[in-house]
Symmetry: D2
Subunit: 354 residues, 4 copies
Amino acid sequence: MIIAMEPQATEEQIQAVCKKIEALGFRAHTIRGVERTVVALTGIPGQLDPEEFESLPGVAEALLITKPYKLASRETKTEDSVIQVGLSDSPVTIGGQELAVIAGPCAVESREQTFAAAAAVRQAGARLFRGGAFKPRTSPYTFQGLGQEGLEILAEVRQEFGLAIVTETIDPENCNQVEEYTDILQVGARNMQNFSLLKRVGRSSRPVLLKRGISATLEEFLMAAEYIMAEGNYNVILCERGVRTFADHTRNTLDLSVIPAVKRRSHLPIIVDPSHGTGKREKVIPLARAAIAVGADGLIVEVHPHPDMALSDGFQSLHPEEFESLMEQITAIAGVVGRTTARSTPAPSAAIRE
Amino acid sequence: MIIAMEPQATEEQIQAVCKKIEALGFRAHTIRGVERTVVALTGIPGQLDPEEFESLPGVAEALLITKPYKLASRETKTEDSVIQVGLSDSPVTIGGQELAVIAGPCAVESREQTFAAAAAVRQAGARLFRGGAFKPRTSPYTFQGLGQEGLEILAEVRQEFGLAIVTETIDPENCNQVEEYTDILQVGARNMQNFSLLKRVGRSSRPVLLKRGISATLEEFLMAAEYIMAEGNYNVILCERGVRTFADHTRNTLDLSVIPAVKRRSHLPIIVDPSHGTGKREKVIPLARAAIAVGADGLIVEVHPHPDMALSDGFQSLHPEEFESLMEQITAIAGVVGRTTARSTPAPSAAIRE
Amino acid sequence: MIIAMEPQATEEQIQAVCKKIEALGFRAHTIRGVERTVVALTGIPGQLDPEEFESLPGVAEALLITKPYKLASRETKTEDSVIQVGLSDSPVTIGGQELAVIAGPCAVESREQTFAAAAAVRQAGARLFRGGAFKPRTSPYTFQGLGQEGLEILAEVRQEFGLAIVTETIDPENCNQVEEYTDILQVGARNMQNFSLLKRVGRSSRPVLLKRGISATLEEFLMAAEYIMAEGNYNVILCERGVRTFADHTRNTLDLSVIPAVKRRSHLPIIVDPSHGTGKREKVIPLARAAIAVGADGLIVEVHPHPDMALSDGFQSLHPEEFESLMEQITAIAGVVGRTTARSTPAPSAAIRE
Amino acid sequence: MIIAMEPQATEEQIQAVCKKIEALGFRAHTIRGVERTVVALTGIPGQLDPEEFESLPGVAEALLITKPYKLASRETKTEDSVIQVGLSDSPVTIGGQELAVIAGPCAVESREQTFAAAAAVRQAGARLFRGGAFKPRTSPYTFQGLGQEGLEILAEVRQEFGLAIVTETIDPENCNQVEEYTDILQVGARNMQNFSLLKRVGRSSRPVLLKRGISATLEEFLMAAEYIMAEGNYNVILCERGVRTFADHTRNTLDLSVIPAVKRRSHLPIIVDPSHGTGKREKVIPLARAAIAVGADGLIVEVHPHPDMALSDGFQSLHPEEFESLMEQITAIAGVVGRTTARSTPAPSAAIRE
């Protein structure tokens, strides 16, 4: 940490800061500039809050330099993490050369609807299937998911179509039930700082898909991943799904610049959700193309056999033939950035991948 | 709901919208303007999402007019809700003429620290005591609270000082433990859309202090209250504690305009947290004054016997003598807006209260 | 406009609203629903502010449906506008099949630096050259541009390299001087609502590159274009350059979803500035790829022969060889979305372009 | 400036940073910590951009410590600035013990309307009169002000009612015209970074009322004041008028915490505009009370003799009798914070003023 004193700070105030640093077991380094004095703190970093120093007299500002996340940091692990899903002989990987495409309806509504969606996305080249059995909804009066019955339908989908399953868990107790049926546990954006849930999925053997909170900074996002990893589960897949801003032409503002920022700071894979990220069907395909072009490791997309009859989020779900077109387009973009999809012809040009 | 068609929408597209409205059991009213046609939908409002209509061809925009919250709405209950806390012979009320002041340390750290804080805030005129036994922290490596031991210390504080207790519950299972010890269950800002927790506290007999999420709109805030009320617990106290914006001179931007906005739309009481709302000790008192001046029903403030040694949030905690000064200042402001505090002399001028 | 009455609004209040509508020369349509009454207003739309009605007693909400922009709207002109720059025999177009790439240094610093940048970007395939002679800077103490001398250097660049020139004008009087030398007048983000400047460039014969303000909604952005068009200059090129949000991993948050949103609402071309949009050199190329993938009509990129010695924004300027790589990568992406660049080989697949 | 190296930075990378610092004429101090090395830079601070260092290899982060504003800073001038307006024998002051209340209509619409407003606000105790002759409007099709005729009406108001005049100037050329008629030049929020205008008003002999831009950080706000002061005009009055956030229950979010933050960093007076800050008449009085309670030096408020017939912003203008009530309420609050208004009875308690 760096503590900048005010220009008019007295020698006693500077000494008081140094004394506090040393009392906490760190070393203080005093640098006297033309305008002001700065005190640097070194030592084994614990969890110091800069604001603890800012309230001392004579202190202008205290700045943290060491990042608070360790396990999620690329400083700890320099190579990319590649996460394997499914125990079968042909596991799906997330973070490797092949892009991970997770597709399916917002909610599991019935066996028929779910099977129809699964058949369509399987056919188009997705290898992971999404569908909510427990739905966190803004209103207590709207459809909250089929629950256990939904989980059982998802298990059938895995069996029938060979798709790995991604579904959301909404609280620690609910996690016991969900982890029995799913291949990847999803933690929704509203629960990104539900620390009880993060700790619980951190003790699971399933990989976790962690969605970025609607107003989470990059540091908070990586700290949420750190919570899961601190419990022993290192298989965390990050997901950008839009942040809340003043802009009102989309439901959220998809922050694609977070992809290269995550790649620089962390070894974890990151995918993009263009469905929730825009909340408008007609923007899903353009932003899915952009997500792959910027370097994301995959997508999670809502596809419904009959979007106009969906019980939730139909307006942002793709028709099966639109998803087919999305797969075709991102396969072309993938070739440009040195990635592949399940639809790629053998040899992608590895040319541009950074 | 109002559905505006595009100027060039065809008659078939207009009919398709009307047909969908009627298929859903509502009535469609077509208004043909100079530039475009608008379709209004009437009937018993269920939970329609305007975006379901926006994806139809020819539709420019769909706008919801009926608010989705009912129980929390002033349209349902016009008089202010006044919430009673404590079963003793001198209950504390929140939302009545006397302002509710909740004060105490961020976290219960020890019996000594908690008792010292309790003695100080009691002395200065607070009748409700805050202190966290379970702390949701951004980092998994920081102090997470004393847990059960902290709850027991709080119970002793109630006994010893006659203060009603407010403490946070962090998940549904944890609520079983916390509700045994506390007078008011606090739901933190990060959990404002943790619907499992909202449903659980909605089944409790304790009043609930619901903090506004860091990026929650007023509608989302009231919908979170609605979740609790829909389970049968009508004793919800709202709390503004700052929202996330681009502004970087305070930790959060305290949104005091939400107070008159809540008063217009809802009958629930609302208090302000100037400690988290600013994150800076020197701004707590000025913004506490402003909160009372704008019409809030009370405050929740962090007070610590030795802020510089606090295990969390010391930089925003008041010293006991600062809290004493805060009470004095808000008592003066209260008189101007027709409210009282425990320190008020008998007859406040009821002049200005709106 | 649609005016929703409160459920408890009286008949007199409803009549008062209707009377006000008719007094203003419009027609009022009353729709009585189960819960509340809604009044729709039709007629030749002038400039009504919904808030004029919201202050009437009994009114819950008033909503504007007709968009306030006309000339910029796709409802007025359905086909894409293609803007020609330069009067020579081989004009550059913006908004057509070939992507427009504008490149060059943030500021014109010297003849040598500018010529070196121009040679590099010309070589890599750019046909438009950027460079500031007048620089709006946050601090009055930093380099404010070479002024007239800078304009003369730019004129030499046009002559020498056959590049069309894009440079910023900072106030109405300054516009007299700048328009003599430039091919496209740039209006910076901070001036997006400098209406005196918008009116002045609206009377120029030069096309205008209008950057989106850092916190402008899409409607405000299109209204700024409308200001220019209302004066008679229809050659407006929009430019997304990032908006201000809470996110701190980039200088601004590049809002790529605005591209398909503009395409839906307006016929004007829109390009992207990934340099200011991210403020970090290492993110410029990934986001440039994403901008083309999402459907932008081109890019404006900072390129400096020696970024580390730049007098402004060196940290976000590309080295010439990085720009060469950018051109190569976006040429590949362009092929996927049915566009071309100056580097494209003859026949692009027109397959995917929407 | 402080430059934090990455943990794995090499000795050569550290040396390169030091060399760059010294080449720029500063001194480098290297502090080797357990985890990483930090380089501190001292010397006469010029205008360094931290991002210039962040692009060097091995650098994790660079942080500016010295603030870029000088003349506006309290480090330069510790006592509060008190600005005198009007040359008459009873000048009005802004920033002194008496609160400055500026009131009047959004726009000068006619001599009758303006005189009626002036009579009302004079009567209620205002000593400064506002009214726009040149109106920056979002739409080119709405009323843009009476121009020269409006200025002449304002001059008559000064003569007739003894009120000092505050009116907006919209560009450098327009300033020549406006400064002849007004006592205070107002720079609107949209022009806060119109540097040509800031320089022009910086050369005026009139005090300047500078409104905070809708998305301006505190530093940018003070840098805009610095632009004016750097030209020689030290009489700058800051004005908070709400910032743009996601919150949709008010037009803007009034950021009252900026008042104590400005008071800490700068000696300039700051007032609050609760009319534009909320955009809703019913919130103007509560937030005016809060502004005085938080420590603002005054208010600027819209008052119209017939708000429902106003040509602009009628929905946020107070009726004369509402303004009378506002004056009464803030006079009571002023007494609590040791301030006075023109309506105060002789001896205010100076008790609480910080």
